[in-house]
Structures are given as structure tokens and as C-alpha cells.
Symmetry: C2
Subunit: 456 residues, 2 copies
């Protein structure tokens, strides 16, 4: 077979051990955390150690018309790193260098470094990299950039795109180009850096990012509120965000509260209909003022219990509880994980609508949310061995996205479109914007070898 012979060329072109053909290892790179059942099997995995390795792999794929699937830590939830039959999976997990420049408050990172490792490395210089996906301990900075990942502090500090000042990216023809750089202001030419952030590996492979850093975050004060109903909690969210910018404003529904409490036994109110966890990181006395505003909003909106603390460890326990919601609900059963967002005032409509979808399809849907920016994660629990329930869960999965679109929202706030949501992208963007997107894709990747089947 020509491809097998050709693969020898790739093995020869790259350092020893970079091209992996062991079937067991190849199998372990078939799926990301979306566990796409339609995942294929790659002909090889390339564990790139340098930009030159990535270039060689892309050039070989271009010459042989072989699809190449870029992959960071494989923690994606939309199937953006799903292997295709006969393709190459290129993982950047071995590219892990970082250089921090405290004067320009920037860091140059290779893509394989984990988000938590970036945070730790810049902290040594007294600096802070804000974006904090719940998976920050296991997700890579390259994947964060490729999906424009979000997190809990985005409500105040913005998303990954707001922190990527520049990058090196390998194009579909194997050229490596540098975009932007450690300059806070730079409007020379088109904003290509921003275009590549969130492009999910469909336009190029990010081999380095230059990140903007901030001075350290002040210690946060935390306010937790239990509410009898989702509506009461939503009302409190609107009250707070129209007054101040909390550093965090997270939501869990009853199912999530109970699932977390089952695991962590931290004394959450199991009877509550909804829980909000808010934080203020305003400096000094300003934090106390913000905490008061949050407490007052909680109380005014009918909170059944309000607890405030300025002890960072105590606050972190509640944040950790919220972050733990997905694994906790996974104990009930495998999940279809949504990432829909709506303009903030539509949050109650979205949550009501999801409840109706769950009832109609007879499936369990738990909603957790980065409530402060309207970004929710409805979690659809289903038993994959129950074909009927799985079918109903899949219908509900689509209906939740339909609902978000109808409410003027988005099918994905921070996870990316990947393979799982691409069927809904045209409904959100419209035919004209899809055509615009396709034109840009076609001009940057005319052979269509970069992550085919993702996004478009």
C-alpha cells in the first residue's frame, strides 16, 4: 500500500520515537473527552517535540493528502480532537517550554503545557494567567487557544482570546508563521492572531502562544446562596451583574447539588432548588462592599440560606465543589455535555425550556452554569446500553441547542463546535456566515487536510 510506504518517509523525516505506529497507543488517541462513538483510527500518532516536527508532519500530510488531527491534552468536550480513519493524530503534549517575561508581563509557551502549569510558572514571577477552565489541571494551553476556552473567572476577566497576544502557527502547507507578539497594542495588518484562536485546528496548528499576564489576583471573598427555585437564583444573577463585576458567579441546580453532596459530603442544602457561588476579588475594603451587595441581592431574591467568607480556603472549597459537579453527575451515568449560552436576561427562559425538554424526552438534565455570563452546561444523563434512552438523550441534546439559538444565544460558549455540534452551527450563524467561514477555511487549507469534519 502506498500510504504504508509513504509513512516510512514520515518516520525517517522525524526524530526517533516521534512517529508512533503501535496499535494500542494509536487506539488511545482515537477520542477526546467527547468520546465520539464515530471516531476513526489514525494510521499513526505524531508526538511532536518541536515546531520543526509539526512542520514535517504537516508537509508529509499535504504531500500525501492525509488528514491531520491536532490534539493537545485530549480533554476537549466537543470532539474536536477525534481521530479519522487513515489520518494522522498530531499531539503537542511533549512541547512544554515556557519563558516568562515579568517586565512586559507576558509568557511564551509551547502548546503542550497544562493550563495549571502555566499558572504555576507565571506565579513564580508574581504574575497571573486568568483563564481557568474547570479542567485547568488537565487541559493544555494549546487546546485552550484552539478552542478559545473559558472558565469561572471569565465573567470578570474574559476568555483565552483576551490573553493571546501572539502565536506561532504551522499552516496547511507546512510553513510556520509568527502572528502578533508581546505588544499590548498592535493593529498592524489583519487580526490573524485572534482569527486562529478558537479555530479548532481547522486553519493551522498552534505551536507557540504569547500570553498576556496580569498582576496577581487579590484574595477572593466568597458568598454562597441557596435558593428554593432556579428562578429566584436567576433573578439574583441579574441583580448582581447589573451592579458589580463579580470575579465569579456560578450556578448549580438541585441534581448537581445532590450529586456533589453525595461525593463530597460538605453539608450543601440538599433541598435547595439552586445554589449560587459568587466571589469578589476587589482589593481591600472594596471586597467587603461587593460582598454586601451580593449578600443583599441573594436575600432580596429569596435566598433560603446565605453564607459569606473571606477565608480563601473555605471559598476554594465551594469553587472546587462547583468544578466537581461534572465528575459527580457522571457517577449517575454517562453524559452528553452541552455548553450553550444566552444573553443574560434570557437565562431563566433557557433553564425553563431545558426543564420542559427533559420532561418531554423523559431524560435527566442537570444544569450547571457560569451564570454571570449566561454560559450554561446542561448535562444530559443517559445509559448508552439503553438504545431508546440514548436516542431520546440525543434528541434532547439537539433541542437544547435549538432553544439556545432561538433565544439569541450560542451553541458553545467555551468548548468549541468540534464534531458534536457542527450540525447546529449553520442554524446559529446562518448560511451567509457559514459560507464566509468556508471561504476562509478553503483559502487557508485548500486540500482540507486540517482537522476535517470539525466545525464545518
Amino acid at each position: 500500500m502506498t500510504t504504508i510506504t509513504a509513512l516510512d518517509d514520515l518516520v525517517t523525516a522525524l526524530p526517533v520515537g516521534v512517529v508512533i505506529t503501535d496499535p494500542d497507543i494509536i487506539a488511545s488517541y482515537r477520542q477526546d473527552r467527547a468520546f465520539d462513538p464515530d471516531a476513526g483510527t489514525a494510521m499513526a500518532v505524531v508526538r511532536a517535540t518541536s515546531t520543526a516536527d509539526v512542520q514535517a508532519a504537516v508537509r508529509w500530510c499535504a504531500a500525501n493528502n492525509v488528514p491531520i488531527i491536532p490534539r493537545g491534552a485530549g480533554t476537549g468536550l466537543s470532539g474536536g480532537a477525534t481521530a479519522v480513519d487513515g489520518g494522522i493524530v498530531l499531539t503537542t503534549e511533549k512541547m512544554r517550554d515556557i519563558t516568562v517575561d515579568p517586565i512586559t508581563r507576558s509568557a511564551i509557551c509551547q502548546p503542550g503545557l497544562l493550563n495549571a502549569e502555566v499558572k504555576a510558572a507565571v506565579k513564580e514571577h508574581g504574575l497571573w494567567y486568568p483563564p481557568d477552565p474547570s479542567s485547568f489541571e488537565i487541559c493544555s494551553i494549546g487546546g485552550n487557544a484552539a478552542t478559545n476556552a473559558g472558565g469561572l473567572c471569565c465573567v470578570k476577566y474574559g476568555v483565552t482570546s483576551d490573553y493571546v497576544l501572539g502565536m506561532e502557527v504551522v499552516l496547511a502547507d507546512g510553513r510556520a508563521v509568527r502572528l502578533g507578539g508581546a505588544r499590548l497594542k498592535d493593529t498592524a495588518g489583519l487580526s490573524l492572531t485572534k482569527l486562529f484562536v478558537g479555530s479548532e485546528g481547522t486553519l493551522g496548528i498552534i505551536t507557540e502562544v504569547t500570553l498576556r499576564l496580569l498582576p496577581p489576583q487579590a484574595a477572593a471573598s466568597t458568598v454562597v446562596g441557596s435558593f428554593a427555585s432556579v428562578h429566584a437564583a436567576s433573578k439574583a444573577v441579574l441583580e448582581i451583574t447589573s451592579t458589580i463585576r463579580p470575579a465569579m458567579l456560578e450556578f448549580m441546580d438541585k441534581v448537581a447539588i445532590n450529586a456533589v453532596e453525595d461525593q463530597l459530603k460538605m453539608g450543601l442544602d440538599r433541598t435547595a432548588g439552586a445554589l449560587l457561588v459568587a466571589q469578589s476579588d476587589a482589593p481591600g475594603a472594596a471586597a467587603a462592599a461587593e460582598v454586601e451587595i451580593i449578600e443583599a441581592a441573594f436575600t432580596r431574591c429569596g435566598a433560603t440560606e446565605v453564607f459569606a467568607t473571606d477565608d480563601p480556603d473555605e471559598g476554594e472549597a465551594f469553587t472546587a465543589a462547583r468544578r466537581y459537579a461534572i465528575p459527580a453527575i457522571e457517577k449517575i451515568g454517562p453524559l452528553l455535555l452541552e455548553d450553550v449560552g444566552v444573553p443574560l436576561h434570557k437565562l431563566p427562559d433557557l433553564i425553563d425550556g431545558i426543564e420542559a425538554i427533559a420532561a418531554n424526552r423523559d431524560v435527566l438534565i442537570s444544569v450547571i452554569a457560569h451564570a454571570g455570563d449566561g454560559n450554561t452546561h446542561p448535562l444530559i444523563v443517559h445509559d448508552p446500553n439503553d438504545a431508546d434512552e440514548t436516542a431520546r438523550a440525543n434528541l434532547a441534546f439537539g433541542e437544547v441547542m435549538d432553544l439556545a439559538i432561538a433565544l439569541g444565544g450560542t451553541i458553545t460558549g467555551e468548548h468549541g463546535v468540534g464534531r458534536l455540534k457542527k450540525g447546529w452551527l449553520p442554524d446559529q450563524l446562518g448560511a451567509d456566515v457559514i459560507e464566509l467561514t468556508q471561504r476562509i477555511k478553503d483559502t487557508l487549507d485548500p486540500q482540507g487536510i486540517l482537522n476535517p469534519g470539525t466545525m464545518l
Copy 2:
């Protein structure tokens, strides 16, 4: 002539008064504030009143292969709104609606509204739109988006791109598309919104922007420092930005200080080599702490005079003085206005190098800067009636950009490339990125009718 006949079709297609053929009015739309001497003369000016007007004009231009030059308030400093012979100038100055949504903290604006008017409209709802070009009282929000405009508070709050959540844009074929929306987090599809911000009218014409707003800024405290030398001031800039995030950190050299003092007579130290104006808007007691840090840095770096005030009006007087530097220096003579930026630690090298260029070319160059993010405005004074001096000024203009590029910087931090700097763009970006840029331009504007001659 076919074009004259065809122009009748355009007049007919648009509301009465929208298409202007009066030669005097056409002449007044030849140049923006870059006063490009090579400006052409349009065949007509379209004063669009709606997106439909813009679409009709673009469709007519596409059908007749006529260049269309989009224009906001005409305050651009790079010649991005320079008329071309036989083209159409499309001005959005009559499109001035704004709707503020306090709950989602966003505003939907038409492009013709001035930046100051946007600020005022959202202030009525207790909100704040941060980007503040020095020209904020006369520049339009559409132009701000098209150039990715900056300003004085960017050092802490970022640039226009950080505040544009969505837009409506008319494409080269006359279709109007909506990109993004009032969603703080949305990673569905490519980041086209960010691509169009800063594209200087070369990819489409922005007919509406959705802006992210912040709660009001706390009252700022101001610290002003006089320094014997530019080096001492640069050192203070580095000390401050490696410790805190000032809300403003502006720089004026001796020429600028004296030019401003000539006009405003506010008692600035005329003997000083450099002046820094810093602000802290940290809430409550935190401001006092930041002011102390700034004062200490000024003193440690050898400031000859340090003045601090928490009186907002007094502080605003110094900010206004800094903003007034360009008009004040213009009294000495017409300016070639640079907008070069460098990574922060290269600021002293840049300023030294500019001094050497000025001496070598025997021209007066005054430097003012948004020092906190390394974005400088060297102002090259020249007498346009002195051909030799003008030639030397033009050589210096290019050499300053060459220097910025050599120092790892940018030819434009916030004004855009326009026509005046496009010759240097390839030197900054490199041939590969220019080719990438050209491919995107060609695929979105295959006829090349959108602002030809700008950027590329």
C-alpha cells in the same frame, strides 16, 4: 461616459440626498487627518443613512467595478479613508443610533456615533465604555472598530477589539451579515468579529457594533512626575508596570512639555526632559496604595518633581494636557505622525534611536507616548514648503518604523496601517504573513473594491 450614466442608477437606488455629487462637498471628503497628498477625488460621496443604503452602494460599486472608501468621522491618522479617483466615498456619519442594554451590559451602536457620544449614552445607564483615543470627542465608533483604536486607558483596560462582541458588516458583494452578539462567551465558528475589527474597511463595511460595557470607573488619582532625562522616566515606567496596573501611564518629552505649556500656561516644568502622568482607579484605599507605589517609583528613578492629587478635575487637567500635545506641537508646524510600539523594555532604546534619527536627518521629532504599553507617537515636524526638509522628514518617518521593527515592535499600535505605513507592513509581518493576509483579502473581496490601497 458609462460611469456617469451608471451613477444615475445609484442616485435612483438610494434615498434623496444620500448620493452627493457637489464638487465642493466631494473635495471635502478627499482626505482624512493624515492629509495624504496623493489623495484622489471621488465621483460621489454616499452619506448612508442605513445598512440598506450601504448595501445598495456596495452592490452598485461591485456591479460597476468602482472602488468604495468607507469613512467614519474622517479623523484617521494613517490615510485609511483617503479618496481615490473615480471611486465612491461612503461615510457612515449619519448612522447614529444607539441602544443600551444595562442587564447584559452591552450597547448596539451604529458606526457614525462619536466615541464621546457612546461614552455619554452608556453613562446614562451607569455604565462605562473604556476605549479612549485622544480624539474621542471627534472620532466615530465605527472608525474605532475599523482601526482597532486604542487610547490612554488601554494600559489597564485593553483596546477596541476587547470590547466588540459583535457586529453587522456589509460584505464586498453587498450582503449584510451578523457576527457575534451580546454574549460575553461565544466560540461558535471562527472569530470573524475579531477579524473584522482593525481590518480598516478592506474586508467589509461595519454598519453596527455590539459593545461590551463595564460598570463605571472609580474616580482616578493622578500622579505627575518631572524627570531630567527620558531614560529616568523610562526606568520609572518599567518599575511601575512590573508592580501594578496603572489606569493610565502617559509620557511627554521636552518639546511636547514646552509646546503644551506655550498654549495652556499650566505651570509645567519647562526645563524637564520628560513628564509622566500616571493614574490609579483602584477602588477605595487601594488607590492610595497604588499612588504611593507610583510616587516611590518616580522618586527612586530620580524625578525632579512629583505631584499627586485625588481631585478628579485636577487630574483631568493633566490628562487633557497630554491629550493636547498633538495640537500644541502642530502649532510649530505640520506633523508626520508616527504610532510605533515596542515591547516595554525596549522603550529607552526606541527613544534613544529616535533622537539619533532626528539628529541625523536634522528634523525636530517630539515623542509622546502611551508609555505603559510601549506605544509611542513620535511627531515629526516639517515645513511642507521646504522640499528638502520634507524629504528629510519623510526619510525619518520610515527610519522610525524600521527602528521599531528592528526592536521587535510594531509600526502601528492604534492608528492602523492605512496608506501611509503600508510600505513598511511587509517588513514587520514578513512575506508569509502578508501572503496569508492577501489570501484572506482576495477571498473576501475578489474584485478588490473595498478600500483599495489601504493596508495592502
